[in-house]
């Protein structure tokens, strides 16, 4: 297993966001976690990227190594795990190119950076057109492309995606997910959390269902799409 989460507990003050979540992601997979708003999906990703501290007893390992030993920036720069956060969180005061370059802050491989940059511009030609534009002035779809492009530049082994479909028109959503599949086929493992369960399950190979901080269901995404409970709760009947 490339990424393994065991018995993950996270609390925000008195609120217990995650109560013993365990799952695994294998190299090259596309795995999704679906669930309602507030189920703990974003918290799961934040725990992996070390933006929140899990409680004692939680274990997260990456390629057999204890991920919790690494500070957040090292999770990205050393382990190669990138995180597209909820709401994209671009640096609106920086240009598109600067946003992409900042993501390579800790990288020393200049040639590879140049290649990756070209690759991002090939996947998202719109970003190349808007290279010198301040990212805060772009449309929602373009911002999502940049958020993904930025993650692509920062760490390539695993990409954590928090609601990539949010706020996107259906056609744009297709474009974004097609690009993600392309990135996955080049070897990046993808773990995404989505409220748009149908989109997520169609896109992924395996899925987990998170409810109130517990994983309640798991299986191949195809099976989950046919599951009566999932249908009723998450796919609108």
């Amino acid at each position: 297993m490339q990424l393994s989460v065991e018995n993950l507990h996270v609390s925000y003050g008195n609120i217990r966001a995650l109560q013993g979540v365990s799952f695994e992601v294998d190299e090259g997979e596309i795995v999704c976690i679906i669930g309602a708003n507030g189920a703990g999906k974003s918290t799961t990703l934040r725990a992996i990227s070390r933006m929140v501290d899990p409680e004692p007893g939680s274990r997260i390992t990456f390629q057999g190594e204890n991920l919790l030993d690494s500070p957040p920036d090292r999770v990205v720069s050393r382990l190669g795990i990138s995180h597209v956060p909820e709401g994209r969180r671009l640096f609106g005061n920086l240009t598109v190119l600067e946003n992409l370059k900042l993501a390579t802050f800790a990288r020393k491989d200049r040639d590879a950076i140049a290649r990756d940059l070209e690759r991002v511009f090939a996947i998202f030609p719109r970003l190349a057109e808007r290279k010198e534009q301040k990212s805060g002035t772009m449309s929602g779809g373009e911002q999502q492309m940049l958020a993904i492009g930025r993650a692509f530049m920062s760490g390539r082994k695993v990409m954590l995606l928090d609601e990539p479909s949010m706020g996107l028109a259906p056609l744009l959503m297709r474009t974004v997910f097609d690009s993600l599949r392309e990135i996955n086929q080049e070897g990046t493992t993808i773990l995404l959390v989505e409220q748009n369960a149908r989109m997520a399950l169609q896109f992924s190979q395996r899925g987990y269902v998170l409810e109130h901080g517990h994983l309640v269901l798991q299986g191949p995404s195809r099976d989950l799409l046919d599951d009566p409970e999932v249908k009723k709760t998450y796919l609108g009947g």
Binding site: M51, P71, D73, R89, R150
Partner: protein, 307 residues
């Protein structure tokens, strides 16, 4: 007219001190969302370190029997003191502020006040209550330019200040560390997701701010060669005013506001008795802030997402 120009020259020098100190205030505030109220005292520490370095260099050169040119000693003093004061700033961040990250902002603010008091009284304990004269490194030369008197020191102070400001601007806009600082000013929380070690950037921010304050301290010592442990307090508050007036985290804003403060003070003193200087000057600034509460280059948002 000559009288007016004379005051412009004086205001440029006076404003340089404010601007250099305000830059450090503004950077720390903009990038780390922190009011470093010890910053005025860092200016004082910088002046004293400058005194120590200059005195040491002069003693060394006379012991070695070489007469170093004053300009050379001054440049070396500025550079060495900037480095040493940067280390002081980094220590302040590491010991005082970093443990309080995530604590209520008020705690960090009073930490600044306490560090300030510690630096003042520490200095007092170390060197005693006597005032100290900054060594005269360069001879004053006065030039008469069409009736306006300009000294080589004034020119040097303004030129060095402007050079440092340009260097800072280049650093912020041309290097990846500068880019990381701009990103942190926009959204602190997600910067680590870019693989950026934010502790390093925070330390660097303090280092740069402190180095600029040290430069201000030495330039001040060159112009007004009497140092005392409390010299940083009023300067610190005024530079803080300039930083806020410039707009949150705006380098250009802090610079311009620093010079503006210098101009207002000098020109108020040109018309009114000097005892009324600050009363009138800061009433004017109060009125400016009433109309521009976010300062010159501040944005009226700041309701940024935080985890």
């Amino acid at each position: 007219m000559v009288f007016f120009l004379q005051n412009v020259v004086n205001a440029l020098q006076w404003g340089s001190f404010y601007a250099l100190i305000a830059l450090g205030y503004s950077m720390v505030y903009g990038i780390l969302m922190l009011f470093n109220f010890a910053h005025g005292d860092i200016f004082m520490v910088g002046a004293y370190i400058g005194f120590g370095v200059a005195t040491g260099l002069l003693a060394l050169s006379s012991a070695a029997g070489v007469a170093l040119p004053g300009w050379f000693v001054l440049v070396l003093t500025i550079l060495l003191s900037m480095v040493l004061t940067a280390l002081v700033g980094v220590t302040v961040e590491r010991v005082g502020y970093r443990p309080l990250r995530g604590a209520p902002r008020a705690s960090a603010a009073i930490t600044g006040l306490m560090i300030g008091i510690i630096l003042e009284t520490g200095n007092l304990a170390l060197l005693g209550a006597r005032r100290i004269s900054f060594p005269s490194l360069i001879e004053t030369a006065t030039y008469n330019v069409g009736g306006v008197y300009v000294t080589n020191k004034k020119i040097m102070i303004v030129v060095v200040s402007v050079l440092l400001m340009i260097a800072l601007h280049q650093f912020i806009h041309r290097t990846r560390w500068g880019m990381a600082m701009r990103a942190m000013a926009f959204d602190y929380v997600v910067v680590p997701l870019m693989g950026v070690p934010i502790n390093t950037i925070a330390a660097m921010t303090f280092a740069i701010g402190s180095a600029l304050a040290a430069a201000a301290g030495i330039l001040f010592g060159v112009a007004y060669p009497v140092l005392d442990p409390y010299m940083g307090i009023v300067f610190g508050w005024k530079a803080f005013v300039a930083a806020i007036l410039g707009g949150r985290g705006s380098i250009l804003g802090a610079t311009l506001a620093g010079f503006l403060l210098g101009f207002i003070e000098i020109f108020v003193a040109m018309v009114f008795p000097s005892t009324l200087r600050d009363l009138i000057a800061y009433s004017i600034i109060l009125v400016i802030l009433t109309f521009r509460p976010h300062g010159f280059f501040g944005e009226p948002h700041s309701a940024r997402l935080r985890l």
